[in-house]
């Protein structure tokens, strides 16, 4: 009988500890999810972090490559350009990019449009080892039969990248 009581007491204590540990795990997981998903747009935000100099530099490079590919295409090499851009994107970003480009393709062949994006500079907003945001200044030059002379857009793009299998892929492009 005493053995039964001791076992019951142990059960109650263990059950309480299990609930406590589970609750803590849920809380920690939700908290970390919030930080990654938070709309950090400025490096002076309390949520902005720098994992290391190496992570910072590789994220800036990845964001620059991804933005240049996403914002460049020529009517002559549209299939090739789109494939190159898609390679540097996460699956969700690819879907959004495909929808945008679906509207662009027909017009670009008709007007023989060439869009060249030049990355002027990049700067880090936040970078964990697997998630980063980079402010990218992009100059986008557009020429085509429908334009009397090429246009130049001076863009500001907040590029979100995620590290997948060692490479940074664009997961969000936010033209400001």
């Amino acid at each position: 009988m005493t053995g039964g009581t001791a076992t019951r007491r142990r059960l109650v204590v263990l059950a309480a500890l299990v609930v406590l540990a589970a609750a803590t795990l849920v809380w920690v997981l939700r908290d970390s999810h919030d930080v990654a998903a938070a709309d950090v747009s400025s490096a002076d935000s309390a949520d902005a972090v720098v994992a290391s100099s190496a992570v910072k530099e590789s994220a800036r490079l990845g964001a620059a490559k991804g933005a240049r590919a996403a914002y460049s295409y020529s009517w002559k090499s549209l299939t090739h350009d789109k494939a190159a851009a898609r390679r540097l994107m996460t699956p969700a970003m690819r879907d959004r990019y495909d929808r945008t480009m679906a509207g662009v393709s027909t017009a670009s062949r008709r007007d023989r449009r060439v869009v060249e994006a030049e990355v002027v500079d990049t700067a880090l907003v936040t970078a964990s080892p697997t998630y980063a945001r980079v402010l990218v200044f992009v100059n986008q030059r557009t020429s085509g039969d429908d334009l009397e002379r090429p246009t130049l857009d001076l863009d500001r793009v907040l590029v979100t990248v995620r590290r997948v299998d060692g490479t940074w892929k664009v997961s969000e492009l936010d033209s400001l």
Binding site: L17, V28, S41, A43, S52, L124, L154, R156, L158, L176
Partner: protein, 164 residues
Amino acid sequence: MRERAGRWAVGGLAALLVGLLVALGLVVIRQDDADAGLTTAQQDVAAAARAEALAFLTVDHRDMDPLVDAVLEGATGDFAKQYASQRRTLTKEAVRTEATSTPEVVALGVGDQDDRSATVLVAANSTVTNAATGDEGQVRYYRLRLRLVREDDRWLTSDLQFVR
């Protein structure tokens, strides 16, 4: 019979608890992915650059002197010298055009940074009114590049350019 069931339950719960603690440990280790020194250094220079960019883009023709002072407060070197020498021209021009400019920072990032210097990019929008725009004003879109240097433990702007 009940005694044995109880022992099984204790064993099961103990195993579950160990599993949860291991998971918790892994999550916490993975979360510790910020370098405290680099993170603080970046936040410090970013805050200084934000203040300077906002001061630089703020215009109010009714009272320019404190606005010019605010820019100079965060400036050093050539930028401070040039800006100080422009005080009268800036004020006269603001008064003549009845200009106001109310800026906000849309995004801000830090480029190359070491212990003594850093480059910061700022995307800012400013609502501008003047004699030509009427009361509701116009929104202007800016790309700024600031170079900052650390002097006496403060980040000061030594260069500020619009990025073309």
